[in-house]
Amino acid sequence: MTAATISSPLALDARGTAAIAGHAVHWRLGTVPGASRADLSALARAWLEEIVNARDLFAWNGLTRASATAKPRPRNAPDADVSISHSSTMLLVGACADARIGVDIEAGPFRAFDSPALVRRMCTPHESTTAQSLDDDARRRYLARVWTSKEAQTKATGTGLVTDFRTLDSGARPHFPLQPFEAHLAVADRDAVLHAHTLVLEDSRD
């Protein structure tokens, strides 16, 4: 199935623009019931094309990869960037005309973060201490917040998992609106300084 044949309505469909370090990051988030990874990949490209064209961000010529493991980037638009993340049936995309960006989303219930091995590998000492102070549900959500911040940041730099997450500050705080996901947008500015932005939907704010 391709994006063109996805007929089920989106269970969640939100979009917006975040101003991060002086750069406008345009995003769209949705839940596509029954979608496969291939469906979500195709839909992500369609959403990005729509965002880029609707906002006239840059000339859309599709996406290209520098290598098999590199993230897809806009073809013939060297100042622009896009980012794609999906988790379960949730999809998040972002586009920016003038900065390197990353987006990342994790759908609940975040059980992957019950792994002590993962927690040891992904947390700074401060984040580990914070996680240990929380009850089970709050700890999972906090760790998902930590993870999506770091994933978004390293997608923005293009370094991905080569970065040692134990030395990267997520900036995450253990204060949670009720939403079925944790997600971040991130910008790497011209000085390679990273800026992470927690994505919170308006109707989830407490």
């Binding site: 994790e106 992957a112 091995a117």
Partner: protein, 91 residues
């Protein structure tokens, strides 16, 4: 099964490949029928969460330092297992 249930496990290419497959099956993120020693890793679409989890579990089980690039630099679990077995032998 998790790595915490293992003491240091036998470090042959075959045993490591089987251990890697067991770990991936435990995560329940991939159709177990697609997890074979020679399946292309690029087609498994390993989620980065589980890549990092697996790296740490490899370190715990085999007393080796491993980073996520090992899964980008090798095409299959068998190749990853061969690399790990080589490192363990050099140990």
């Amino acid at each position: 099964m998790s790595s915490t249930e293992h003491d240091k496990v036998a470090a042959t290419e075959e045993s490591i490949a089987q251990w890697l497959m067991d770990q991936l099956a435990f995560y329940e993120q991939i159709d177990p029928e697609t997890i074979t020693p020679d399946a292309p890793l690029s087609e498994m679409e390993l989620d980065s969460i589980y890549v990092l989890t697996l790296c740490t579990e490899i370190e715990d089980a085999y007393d080796l330092e491993v980073d996520a690039s090992i899964f980008a630099e090798h095409g299959t679990l068998r190749e990853v297992a061969a690399e790990l077995a080589s490192r363990a032998a050099d140990g």
